[in-house]
Point group: C2
Chain length 160, copies 2
DNA sequence: CTATCCACTGAACAGATTGCCCAGCAGATA
DNA sequence: TATCTGCTGGGCAATCTGTTCAGTGGATAG
């Protein structure tokens, strides 16, 4: 569960050059191929590395508008609302949260006008009392994990 | 920019079995290897597929707590705030938004107590007027893209 | 109607990588 | 001291990659 410096370097290397092979990684990291293979296997079975799926850019797919919607749910309707939102392709993720709203979801749309359609579809469900939407203008820090990986590797205490 | 059915199937296949090779993909999709290679190259240079970086799970790294913070920024301090937040490893992403808040960021922490430390660090900066935090309890729809890819492929009009 | 262009097919080749196995070694642990 | 665990370095057959080539069919432009 805790990763050491070698694990950290391995993940960073993979993030920088995903197409790299195990052999080349072992050369770059200065360790034996078997070691890299074992570490990778361990990281994957630990769940630290979930997979290597393709990172698809919604903008390039024709969905350049992103928004976050805070939803308020009628008591007891939570389960139904989740099932409903899961059927909407433009809902990229959904969280239940503490605080003012009950749920927070990330939406994409083809345009600002299209966003209206998406929101209508999202809130067009009985259990949803209210929705408050914030449109994303800029994304100064795109979803990232490397800094956290490096932090986690450091915390191990100079492993490697 | 628009993807057809074959592109869609290719992306879905890659998402399901990321470790698959070009050759095996061509077998599964029933097309020639060269075709798969050409499609993949095109999708990548189009920016539809950004890359194949490892998907790291913060929970497995020891950061099981996720939260979203809405920030209000003092006028004119936006640029500095962005630079500040970019230095915090626990800030996984940052957006500027319309609506009540000025920015929305995703945070992770080692525990609820640790979240306080992270928030202190985030808001411990001059340009931030106020922060409102929602802790994530459950994640019914984890970040996903496949349904959108399939939708985009359909919209092309029965391509392939 | 014809010349072109484009995408796909099917095949070939050398070079590199993978998955797998093994023996030896060093540090930590019981 | 006996064991364990993780890393090293090597070897092997099987497979895949990168690349190139010629041929084919459909769509497009003149």
């Amino acid at each position: 569960m805790a990763i050491d410096g070698l694990d950290g370097r391995l993940i960073v290397l993979l993030a920088e050059e995903p197409r790299i092979g195990v052999l080349e990684m072992s050369r770059r990291l200065g360790v034996a191929r078997g070691t890299v293979q074992a570490r990778l296997d361990r990281l994957q079975s630990n769940g630290v590395i979930r997979g290597f799926g393709p990172q698809v850019d919604p903008t390039a797919l024709g969905y350049p508008v992103t928004a976050f919607a805070t939803l308020q749910i009628r008591q007891g309707q939570g389960v139904d609302v989740r099932a409903h939102l899961a059927t909407v392709p433009e809902v990229l993720e959904l969280h239940t949260t503490t605080g003012g709203g009950d749920m927070l979801c990330r939406l994409v749309a083809r345009s600002n006008a299209d966003l209206q359609r998406v929101i209508d579809r999202v809130v067009g469900f009985d259990g949803i009392v209210r929705a408050s939407t914030a449109i994303v203008m800029e994304n100064p820090v795109p979803l990232r994990i490397i800094p956290l990986v490096e932090q986690a590797a450091k915390d191990t205490g100079r492993g490697d």
